[in-house]
C-alpha cells in the first residue's frame, strides 16, 4: 500500500514535468519547420521557346581522349563546359565493375586534350561518405551558372548495379578537385537501384534537371530537379513504363518537355514520353521508329531550336552498338538521319554518346570499343539546308 502511494506521489510529481517537456518538444519542432518555411522558394524557371532554324554541321576534329596508364577499359563519358574549354569525365579501369575502376577527367583547351586526372574512386568516395562503396559507374556532369561543376557518380552498395546509388560531388575550381556533397536519397530500398547516365538539362532560373533511372528487374526513368545552388528541389518518375531507362530530356517550350529512353523491352525501339506541365507529370507515347537494342542515346536542343539525337542504329549487318547515328528533328516527332558518325563491323562498339553545344561548336563523345573515349567536334551553321 505504501509502495503504491509512493508511486502515485512520484507520478504526480513527474507528470507536470512530462507535460512541460512535451510542450517544449512540440514548440521546438514547429519552430524548426517554421524557419524552413519562411525561406521562400524561387519561382520556377521558364524555358525559352524559339522556332527551329535549319542547322548545318561540319566536322572540325576527331580524336581519342588520352587514357590513364594501365586502364584497358573505358566507358560512359559525359561533358561539361567550363570557361575556356570543355571537361570530359568517364570511368576507366581494368574492366567494368573492377575494384580499380575510377572516374577520370580531361580538359579540352585550344583544340587539344590534357592528360587525364583522377576525380573519384571507391576509396575517395568511401572516405568522404563514411561508409563503403563497392564499385564505381557512370558519371554525369553539369556546370552551374556560378561556374561550379557538379558531378554525379554511380557508386554501388553491396551487390551489382542493382545496388547502385548516386553520389553528388561539387568542384569550385573547374574540375581540378571535387568535394563530396552527399549521397542523393532516391529510393527507400536501402537507397539502392537508382543510376545516372544521360546529361542534365538547364532551366531558365539557373537550376537543372538530372535524369535518373531505376533498375532492378523493372526499369523506369526518373528525374531530380536542382536549384541554382545545386540543392535538390524535387524528384519524380517519368511515365509508367517498366522497361525504359536512361532518359534523354529536352525542354521544347515553357510547358512542354520530351524524354527519349533506352528500350529494354522486346520492342527494341527508342521509347518516348511527354510532359505538358513542365515535368510535373508525364505521359508515355508510342515508340519512335528508331532502333534501341537496349543501348543508351543522347538528345540535345540546339540554340537554334532543332533537336539532335545520337543513337545506335541497327541495320541488317549491324550488331546492337556498331553504328552510331546522328538524326535531327524540328518537333521531336519526325526525325531525319544526318549520317553515321561511327560505323563498324559486327561486334564493334560505339556507344553511350553525349553531346554538348558551346557557342557554335558541337562536341560529341562516345565509348570507343570499350577501350577509350572518342571525341568529335562540329561547327554549327544555321540558315542553310543540311
Amino acid at each position: 500500500m505504501e509502495t503504491s502511494l509512493t508511486a502515485l506521489h512520484n507520478r504526480a510529481r513527474t507528470r507536470p514535468r512530462t507535460v512541460i517537456a512535451c510542450v517544449l518538444i512540440v514548440l521546438a519542432a514547429f519552430t524548426a519547420e517554421a524557419r524552413r518555411w519562411t525561406v521562400s522558394a524561387p519561382p520556377p524557371g521558364q524555358a525559352t521557346s524559339s522556332l527551329p532554324t535549319r542547322a548545318v554541321l561540319t566536322e572540325t576534329s576527331k580524336s581519342l581522349i588520352p587514357m590513364p596508364p594501365n586502364t584497358p577499359s573505358a566507358h560512359a563519358s559525359t561533358l561539361a563546359s567550363v570557361p575556356g574549354g570543355m571537361l570530359a569525365f568517364w570511368w576507366a579501369g581494368s574492366r567494368e565493375s573492377g575494384p580499380d575502376v575510377k572516374v577520370y577527367a580531361a580538359r579540352w583547351t585550344n583544340g587539344k586534350w590534357s592528360a587525364p586526372w583522377e576525380v573519384a574512386s571507391r576509396e575517395s568516395l568511401g572516405k568522404a561518405l563514411g561508409f563503403g562503396v563497392r564499385r564505381i559507374g557512370n558519371p554525369v556532369a553539369w556546370t552551374a551558372p556560378d561556374g561550379r561543376v557538379h558531378l554525379y557518380v554511380v557508386a554501388t552498395g553491396l551487390g551489382g548495379w542493382a545496388a547502385s546509388r548516386v553520389v553528388h560531388l561539387v568542384s569550385s575550381d573547374a574540375g581540378a578537385r571535387f568535394e563530396t556533397r552527399r549521397m542523393l536519397p532516391l529510393s527507400p530500398l536501402f537507397n539502392t537501384s537508382v543510376l545516372v547516365r544521360t546529361s542534365p538539362v538547364g532551366l531558365a532560373d539557373g537550376g537543372w534537371w538530372l535524369p535518373l533511372y531505376f533498375e532492378i528487374g523493372i526499369k523506369y526513368p526518373m528525374l531530380m530537379a536542382f536549384d541554382r545552388d545545386g540543392e535538390p528541389t524535387r524528384v519524380g518518375r517519368i511515365g509508367e513504363r517498366m522497361s525504359t531507362l536512361q532518359p534523354a530530356i529536352v525542354r521544347v517550350s515553357p510547358t512542354e518537355v520530351r524524354a527519349w529512353m533506352r528500350d529494354a523491352s522486346g520492342e527494341q525501339r527508342v521509347q518516348q514520353a511527354v510532359s505538358r506541365d513542365d515535368g510535373a507529370s508525364w505521359e508515355d507515347l508510342p515508340a519512335l521508329d528508331m532502333s534501341s537494342h537496349n543501348t543508351s542515346l543522347a538528345v540535345i536542343r540546339l540554340t537554334g531550336g532543332e533537336m539532335l539525337m545520337l543513337h545506335n542504329h541497327v541495320g541488317a549487318d549491324d550488331s546492337s552498338r556498331s553504328t552510331l547515328r546522328l538524326s535531327i528533328s524540328k518537333d521531336g516527332q519526325v526525325w531525319r538521319t544526318i549520317g553515321d558518325i561511327a560505323d563498324g563491323k559486327d561486334g564493334d562498339e560505339f556507344s553511350y554518346p553525349t553531346m554538348q553545344q558551346v557557342g557554335q561548336e558541337l562536341h560529341i563523345t562516345y565509348t570507343y570499343q570499350r577501350q577509350a573515349i572518342a571525341h568529335h567536334t562540329y561547327r554549327i551553321a544555321t540558315g542553310e539546308n543540311i
Binding site: 507528470r15 561508409f131 553491396l158 536501402f190
Partner: protein, 247 residues
C-alpha cells in the same frame, strides 16, 4: 526538399548502427542473468569504441555499404529494448500488432511503388516541402499528447524520437518515409505480424478443440471472454507481448 548535412549523416550512421548492433548483442545476453547489466555496459563501451574506429575498421562502414542508414523508428525500437533490458524488465522480442500492422501495410505500398509495380510516387511525396513536414508535426504533437496523457508511452516515445530526428535535423535522409520505416524494420514488422497470426490461429484451433463434445457448452462464453473483451488485434498483441516477455 530539405536534405541533411553529410556530416550529420555520418555521425547519425555511426550512432544509429551502434545502437542497433548493441540491441542485437544484448538479445544474446540471457534475461535475468545476475551480471547482465555489467555485460550490457561492457558491450556498449566496446561497440562505441568499435564504431568510432576510422574508415573500414568501423562496422558502420560495412553496414552503410549494405543498408545505408537505419530509420529513426528502428533505432528507437532498439533503444526501447535496451532500456527494458537495462532495467531488467521483460523485453518483447516481437513487435506489437498495433505497430507492426501499419508498418507492414505502409511499407508494402511504399516498396511496391519503389520497385515500379505502382507509379504513385509515395517516396517522392515524402520529400515535399509542406505536406510531409506538416504530417510530421502532427505526428510530433500526437505523440507528445499521448505521452503527456500516459497512453502507449513506449510506441509514442519511439515514434516521437523518429519524427523529431526528421523535423529538427531531417535525418536520416530528408525523406519522412526513411525516418519511420526501412526494409529491416519492415521485415521485422512482417515477421511479427505473421507470428501473431500463426499464434492466434493456433490458439483458436486449440480453443475449438477444447470446445468439442468433452466440454460443457456453457463454459465456452467465459473461456472466450478475454477475446471478446479485447475488442480486436491490438489488445491481443499486448497480452502476447507479455507472454513472450516472460519466456
Amino acid at each position: 526538399m530539405s536534405l541533411p548535412d553529410l556530416a550529420f549523416q555520418i555521425v547519425y550512421g555511426r550512432l544509429a548502427w551502434g545502437i542497433v548492433l548493441l540491441a542485437l548483442v544484448a538479445a544474446l545476453i540471457p534475461s535475468g542473468w545476475r551480471h547482465g547489466r555489467h555485460v550490457l555496459g561492457a558491450a556498449a563501451a566496446g561497440l562505441a569504441l568499435l564504431m568510432a574506429l576510422p574508415g573500414s575498421l568501423s562496422p558502420a562502414w560495412g553496414l552503410g555499404l549494405g543498408f545505408q542508414y537505419p530509420s529513426g523508428l528502428l533505432v528507437g525500437c532498439c533503444l526501447l529494448g535496451l532500456h527494458a533490458r537495462w532495467r531488467k524488465e521483460p523485453v518483447p522480442v516481437m513487435m506489437s500488432v498495433s505497430l507492426a500492422a501499419p508498418l507492414a501495410i505502409a511499407g508494402a505500398a511504399l516498396y511496391l511503388d519503389a520497385i515500379g509495380l505502382l507509379a504513385q510516387g509515395y517516396y517522392y511525396a515524402a520529400f515535399g516541402p509542406v505536406g510531409a513536414p506538416l504530417l510530421a508535426l502532427l505526428g510530433v504533437a500526437g505523440c507528445a499528447l499521448a505521452i503527456a496523457r500516459g497512453k502507449g508511452r513506449g510506441h509514442a516515445l519511439v515514434l516521437l524520437g523518429a519524427l523529431l530526428l526528421y523535423t529538427l535535423l531531417r535525418l536520416p535522409s530528408g525523406n519522412l518515409w526513411d525516418a519511420i520505416v526501412d526494409p529491416l524494420l519492415w521485415a521485422w514488422a512482417v515477421v511479427a505480424l505473421v507470428r501473431h497470426g500463426v499464434r492466434r490461429h493456433v490458439r483458436s484451433r486449440r480453443r475449438d478443440g477444447e470446445a468439442e463434445p468433452g466440454l460443457a457448452p456453457e463454459l465456452q462464453p467465459t473461456d472466450l471472454q478475454p477475446l471478446f473483451a479485447a475488442g480486436g488485434i491490438e489488445h491481443l498483441s499486448s497480452s502476447k507481448e507479455q507472454v513472450s516477455g516472460k519466456q
